[in-house]
């Protein structure tokens, strides 16, 4: 059950409703549609391929079992991201914010970035950004990943993270400030000016 009578793809809401109604294939199709993006979010939120895999598995089982709780007030993909992000945050909190392990290229699938066709500088830049992201507090990281990496609107990120929009903005802004400091030495490939000299946001005296 992936197409309607016109051959068009069935939308996500219909698939989820079909799953709730007992269609054995509907949820699998939903997963196939969104798994790569869910994986990317989980990977960047946890900064650990093993944690990401566990979180995605936990989240999708949870979503599978609790699909009837979907109220339809957000896009299905936003709801799925919410479940995945929450699973990631739960796992990270349980591990008591242990220092994040930089993304492992082979495990994470990032080996593609290291393809010889890719520019080494570009690969190194991605690596540096990932390392900097991994150094953010996990709640800031989750907000930044959804908004700045995955392109969620602040409103959708607020739904996914179950926090007010203002908190999303605040977490993103503080996260960007920290990233800007950590990445001050890199050159923006898009030609933007290097980040200006800034105070260290980890310095307590600089906190607002």
């Amino acid at each position: 059950m992936t197409e309607d009578s016109h051959g068009d793809a069935v939308d996500d809401r219909t698939l989820l409703a079909a799953h709730v109604a007992g269609d054995p294939d509907a949820f699998g199709e939903l997963v196939r549609r969104h798994r790569d993006r869910l994986w990317a979010v989980a990977l960047r939120t946890t900064s650990d391929p093993e944690e990401a895999a566990d979180a995605v598995q936990d989240a999708l089982i949870s979503a599978y079992r609790n699909a009837a709780s979907y109220r339809g007030d957000a896009a299905v993909t936003t709801w799925l991201h919410r479940v995945v992000v929450n699973a990631c945050l739960d796992r990270m909190r349980r591990r008591r914010a242990r220092p994040s392990v930089p993304l492992l290229d082979e495990e994470s699938g990032h080996h593609a970035i290291a393809d010889p066709r890719d520019d080494l500088d570009r690969f190194e830049l991605r690596h540096e950004i990932d390392r900097a992201l991994a150094a953010l507090p996990v709640e800031q990281r989750a907000a930044v990943v959804l908004v700045d990496v995955e392109g969620f609107s602040v409103a959708d990120a607020a739904i996914a993270l179950e926090i007010p929009e203002g908190t999303v903005k605040s977490r993103c802004s503080r996260g960007r400030a920290r990233l800007a400091v950590m990445l001050a030495g890199v050159r923006n490939p898009d030609g933007a000016a290097d980040v200006p000299s800034t105070p260290d946001p980890t310095d307590p005296t600089e906190r607002r």
């Binding site: 995605v56 598995q57 993270l161 926090i163 503080r174 920290r178 800007a180 990445l183 933007a192």
Partner: protein, 267 residues
């Protein structure tokens, strides 16, 4: 469902907000990341597919396997005596040599393979039933090799397991030793793990979802450092392939707790 992340926490008070320059700089860098988002790795896809496939399977209607095993309703099945898989007696020519279970109903006298020592004793009535039950679920070998399976080498390790066990003649080896009170999940990851046949049968049926489908081999071992059962099945979806399920030792008819799934194709 997971706990909401919603309440403001320490993250909301960590550091100053970005200046306009910092904001633009960071956003510019981050926006380019998505183009390089890696797809979900195949092994994670397989794992997710496997656990979701299990969700589809009604656990209440599972019945024991066919063959020599008596057909019983899962809910009514009496729990047989737990048995112990004895540790491997290694042979110089077979590094992965383990024990095989003689699981036919006639396998009353138990012999330790490879060392020629007779573990004298017979299985009591309930254990014989368990042996017969196990025979319905596992066509091949049940071993406790203690192999340290890992993701990168899983396929090769399973091939070695099958090669080692199939190359050996089955005469004079292996074991069902009743051990009161033992169960599948109570033992450590060592080679002398206790396994309740009924639990193992239930686990296999949870994985296969079918009556009468038999595992090619089961190995009590470790996976990525964790105690695990490696259950090898003939793939129903791909002729000639093997489906390898790595599950926690707590695997039961109700829940398999899959740690890894991998399909092995080719020689």
């Amino acid at each position: 469902m997971s706990t909401p992340s919603g309440t403001p926490g320490p993250a909301d008070d960590l550091g100053p907000e970005a200046t306009p320059e910092q904001d633009a700089f960071a956003r510019g860098l981050l926006a380019g990341l998505r183009a390089d988002d890696p797809p979900m790795p195949d092994h994670v896809v397989a794992r997710v597919d496997a656990v979701l496939a299990q969700e589809l399977r009604p656990s209440s209607s599972v019945q024991l396997g066919t063959g020599s095993a008596p057909q019983q309703d899962a809910e009514d099945e009496p729990v047989g005596a737990p048995v112990t898989v004895l540790p491997t007696q290694r042979r110089p020519d077979s590094s992965t040599r383990a024990l095989q279970w003689l699981v036919g109903a006639a396998a009353a006298v138990l012999v330790v393979g490879g060392v020629g020592a007779v573990v004298s004793g017979t299985l009591g009535g309930s254990s014989s039933d368990s042996a017969a039950t196990l025979a319905g679920a596992v066509a091949g070998t049940v071993v406790a090799s203690g192999t340290a399976y890992d993701q990168d080498n899983l396929a090769g390790q399973v091939r070695s397991l099958l090669s080692a066990t199939s190359a050996d003649d089955r005469s004079g080896e292996a074991v069902l030793v009743p051990e009161a009170g033992a169960d599948l999940g109570s033992a450590g990851a060592g080679a002398s793990a206790a396994i309740a046949p009924d639990t193992l049968v239930g686990c296999v049926e949870q994985l296969t979802g079918d009556q009468g489908e038999q595992a090619v081999a089961v190995d009590r071992a470790t996976y990525e450092g964790r105690a695990a059962l490696v259950v090898v099945l003939t793939s129903k979806d791909e002729p000639g392939a093997l489906d390898v399920w790595v599950v926690a030792p707590t695997c039961t008819r109700e829940a398999a707790d899959v740690l890894q799934f991998q399909r092995i194709t080719g020689p």
